[in-house]
């Protein structure tokens, strides 16, 4: 444990005199304190940036730039200070910092950082952020799968980067541009240009690395689905295809293709980028040709018995508040292109989604997958022709999924779906329904509309996720009642709970009494994009179960009644989540905030596992504390000269060294009394150590067996350093204490920091050594383990070594914990000698619990604060 200090430090201590040693230790503690400060600043800025995603703030690029740079400076300084504390030990941190910083700078410069698996991306890792890389069709379907947990066909995306790679590999860029110039200068027709370009593409060769990536992705699909001979739908997923501009139907979709055809299909879909109609369309809409980049979706075919299209809001009559479902037997392609007759269902947008109207037509044909590949039309059996092709429960499932998708994307949706022969619903595609023009009349004067509704409360609480929701209040009080959470209700709760993740997909809004913008609820709300206000103080008091309300988590108002117009007004705005700045902020936050280093005992708790600034910060914080704990203070002092002996009623030979502000200035030069100690953790610890009852003065009856054992036992070097044995020392400052205590035959070490900032606070307790045989020692260790665990410590038990850690509590609670450690140290002084059997462990746990409680009552701190 020694040797953590570099050679230069040691040399310095030897060369210079006592005062110098003291200053160096002071400066080390200062470095440590600076690390704590920086750690806090990093966490603050992280929280601040997260706040901005909530939607309550108006921010711009400048904010994102300056926050990122501020963050980089702080983390850099953190590493610098840490290197002073633990020189050369973690040199790789510098490189990791540089990598993360580089990625962030690339993002800020407008260059998307794509993971290395860049030609092909499986749906599991695709988010909206990659919309430019995988096309919006792929991005939407992946979000629906990953966030909303609805079934979509398994598949992967071949990215726009692969498209460019293909063109470069075949030297096509210039050739294509040349042909297009000819068309634009009216030297050739669009048909001729298209034919030439498409020939170039279909006769091109797939670059070998791309081919390998596609083959790998296919293997993975085989593995996931358990199907050896895959049949795939290969669809276009062009940039901008689904969003503002509808290229619907311009590009190719090839259905039911055997996997061995995939490379050819891929080229065919790429070639469809240059169909005459697509080229004309782009010219009309003012797209420049270099903006064109085609990504492709490769999805397993769904064995559809019935399929169709759902509009989550009737585009022809938005005021009617209904959705429209078209459905027919077999695959949906002919419905999408309007080639077959389909049943039509008019369904309420409100759960339980009653069917308001239906139109059952004669369905003579169905489009089905052919064995061996491709599709064909088949005649429908006569008795099926007029049969309604959806059941009530299928209609309801579809409607629920439709509203869920609409809520997530904050816009009415045009959804392609299929139900397979095992009655499983799959979402094949979802894109925004373009109804802005029609909505405009309905919501012409939004301010006068909302004025008609009574405000229940406004300006209370913090918006953590922006948006508008209408629905019935569902108050969550006890633990059990989440299972019957109604679809589309607004969740109202006293405090936030990780359990809400379960219902976040179903909730249209969330309001809590207590909570913070950086808490767990905020993360969940953002993940599922549920409009959320936390910390309102009054929600559960004022809002009634079942009451209809409108939550405006943009203006921070809760209205009585449903203001549909407000909802529709929200549909007309570009969703905040779809703005470039929002996406940029979210992308940079991904390099900053996620925490991958969770368990300090894990072997992956190492610099190389750091992926984000948060990881680096966490690692340094943890290791800096460790450095301090393991610092061999004896080395730095002539303890007799530097320290003061503690005046104490109990037989405790303790020397205290004050680094700064730990002892009252007027104190005597050679001794110090308990009252004169100002150090917060030390004071609390000593109070515990001296609390009544725990310090047994009775001579212990050591039985012969254990006595003999104690004689033969020597302290092994890895457990207790001989330097430590026989000296009780505490190094303290105003907020810090490092206490080494040998009591009886045990060695205790406590290292703690208690200040006003909750994030700084920690207490570390280590217990080992001791007389008697190994069984008894381990019983005692188990007793300590149980006691610490019951008091919320994070405990690690290895043989008879016990390590307990606790951190990030309020100063008051931290003091309670130090008090408890004091009591525990006293209580266990000779406990192992008494531990004759295993069942005594819990007996002593109970006994100690009682004593501890008694001590607290006398100290005036209630049990509930522990």
């Amino acid at each position: 444990m020694v040797g953590k200090f570099s050679n230069w430090t040691r040399k310095m201590f030897r060369i210079h005199g006592r005062t110098r040693e003291r200053t160096t230790l002071v400066s080390l503690l200062r470095t440590f304190q600076r690390i704590l400060e920086l750690n806090n600043r990093v966490l603050e800025i992280m929280a601040d940036m997260g706040d901005k995603l909530g939607g309550d703030y108006v921010f711009d690029r400048q904010y994102i730039n300056s926050s990122c740079r501020q963050m980089a400076n702080l983390v850099y300084e953190l590493i610098y200070n840490f290197n002073t504390l633990a020189p050369k030990k973690y040199a790789t941190l510098d490189d990791i910092f540089r990598e993360i910083n580089h990625d962030i700078e690339e993002e800020l410069a407008g260059r998307l950082v794509i993971p290395r698996t860049d030609n092909v991306m499986p749906y599991d890792i695709i988010t909206q952020d990659f919309a430019d890389v995988v096309g919006s069709k792929n991005a939407n379907i992946a979000e629906i799968k990953n966030r909303l947990d609805l079934a979509v066909p398994e598949g992967f995306a071949i990215t726009t980067r692969a498209f460019k790679f293909f063109l470069d590999h075949n030297n096509l860029q210039l050739k294509v541009e040349g042909i297009l110039d000819g068309w634009k200068n009216e030297k050739i027709t669009s048909g001729e240009a298209s034919k030439k370009i498409q020939e170039l593409i279909t006769s091109g060769s797939i670059p070998p690395p791309l081919k390998r990536s596609i083959e790998k992705a296919l293997k993975r699909l085989q593995h996931i689905t358990g199907i050896h001979d895959l049949f795939l739908a290969v669809r276009s997923s062009a940039m901008g295809e689904d969003s503002e501009h509808t290229f619907a139907g311009q590009y190719s979709s090839l259905l039911n293709q055997p996997q061995q055809n995939i490379l050819k299909c891929y080229k065919d879909v790429l070639a469809s980028t240059y169909s005459p109609s697509a080229m004309e369309y782009r010219r009309q809409k003012g797209f420049s040709e270099h903006e064109v980049a085609m990504a492709v979706a490769c999805q397993c075919m769904v064995d559809a018995s019935v399929s169709g299209v759902l509009y989550s809001l009737d585009p022809l009559d938005t005021a009617r508040e209904v959705m429209v479902i078209s459905a027919s037997w077999g695959l949906s392609a002919p419905i999408v292109s309007g080639k077959v007759n389909a049943d039509r269902f008019i369904v309420s947008r409100e759960f339980p989604h009653d069917v308001r109207g239906l139109d059952i037509v004669r369905k003579k044909e169905r489009f089905v997958a052919k064995e061996g590949g491709n599709c064909e039309s088949q005649t429908v059996d006569e008795e099926m022709e007029m049969k309604m092709c959806l059941t009530d429960s299928q209609i309801r499932d579809l409607a629920v999924a439709g509203i869920m998708i609409e809520r997530y994307f904050k816009c009415p949706q045009d959804i392609e779906w299929a139900i397979d022969h095992r009655d499983r619903l799959y979402i094949l595609q979802a894109r925004p329904l373009n109804i802005k023009a029609r909505m405009a009349d309905m919501v012409c004067d939004i301010s006068s509309v909302s004025k008609k509704y009574p405000v229940i409360f406004s300006g209370r609480g913090t918006i953590v996720q922006n948006g508008i929701a209408t629905g019935k209040v569902f108050v969550v009080k006890s633990k059990g009642n989440l299972d019957n959470f109604p679809n589309g209700a607004i969740l109202v709760a006293r405090e936030t709970s990780p359990r809400f993740a379960k219902v976040a997909r179903k909730a249209s809004g969330i309001i809590t009494d207590i909570g913070t913008s950086t808490g767990h609820m905020a993360t969940i709300s953002r993940e599922f994009r549920v409009p959320t206000i936390v910390n309102t103080g009054v929600a559960t008091e004022i809002l009634k179960q079942g009451q209809e309300i409108t939550l405006d988590a943009q203006e921070n108002v809760v209205y009585e009644g449903r203001i549909k117009e407000l909802c529709y007004y929200g549909f007309m705005e570009d969703a905040f989540e779809e703005t470039y700045e929002y996406r940029l902020l979210r992308r940079v936050i991904k390099k900053i905030t996620p925490l991958n280093l969770l368990d300090p005992y894990d072997k992956n708790f190492a610099p190389l596992a750091c992926r984000t600034y948060h990881d680096i910060t966490r690692f340094i914080h943890e290791k800096a504390v460790e450095e301090l704990i393991d610092l061999n203070y004896h080395r730095y002092f002539d303890t007799k000269a530097a320290g003061k002996k503690l005046k104490s009623e109990i037989p405790l030979d303790l020397i205290i060294i004050d680094i700064s502000g730990g002892i009252q200035a007027t104190a005597d030069t050679s001794t110090v009394s308990q009252d004169e100690i100002l150090s917060v953790p030390m004071r609390a610890f000593l109070k515990g150590l001296n609390s009544p009852g725990v310090w047994s003065r009775e001579p212990m009856s050591v039985d012969l067996g254990s006595f003999m054992s104690s004689l033969t036992r020597t302290f092994s070097s890895h457990q207790v350093s001989p330097r430590h044995v026989g000296l009780n020392l505490a190094v303290i400052s105003e907020n810090y204490a490092n206490i080494s205590l040998r009591l009886g035959y045990h060695f205790n070490m406590i290292d703690a920091y208690i200040g006003n900032k909750i994030n700084d606070n920690y207490a570390y307790f280590r217990f080992l050594g001791g007389v008697t045989d190994p069984t008894r020692r381990s019983r005692r260790a188990k007793f300590i383990y149980e006691t610490l665990a019951q008091n919320d410590f994070n405990v690690d038990l290895r043989g008879d070594l016990v390590i307990g850690r606790i951190k990030k509590l309020s100063p008051q609670l931290m003091e309670c914990k130090m008090h408890l450690l004091g009591q525990l140290v006293a209580f266990t002084r000779q406990l192992d000698v008494q531990m004759n059997s295993d069942h005594q462990i819990m007996k002593f746990v109970g006994e100690f619990e009682q004593l501890a409680r008694m001590g607290e009552t006398m100290n005036g701190s209630g049990r509930e604060t522990l």
């Binding site: 901005k52 309550d56 703030y57 108006v58 921010f59 711009d60 690029r61 400048q62 904010y63 300056s66 939004i446 301010s447 006068s448 909302s450 300006g459 943009q554 203006e555 921070n556 007004y569 705005e573 570009d574 905040f576 703005t579 470039y580 700045e581 929002y582």
Partner: protein, 131 residues
Amino acid sequence: MSNEEKMSILVLDDEAIVLKRLKPALEKAGYEVEAFSRSSDASSRIMEREFDIVVTDLKMEGLDGMQFLTQVKEHSPKTEVVVITGFATMDTAKESFKKGVFDFLAKPFKLGEILETVKKAEKKIKQAVTT
């Protein structure tokens, strides 16, 4: 001006996200809003009509916010100007106030803050009309 008539607001900021957020928020609060991302466009617009309130960024390409608000104040002294900026310094704040700016907000700000500021400006304008 009657109380029923909507107050008119011109918003100028070269970052689209700011306009996207401010326009609907102000409209929902009952104002009539025109939004511009280019100062030259906004500049020609204020020559065509008078706005009750102007909300402008400071640092922009071309004609900067300080020049723009100077124009606004020269052309229609009654218009109240609210400055929003990501580069807030004491100097720019002082200079803005010297030019008769109603208030100065540093970005990022909460929607509630800008609404409150605009409401105060509205109140001032209405008082000026009645007295």
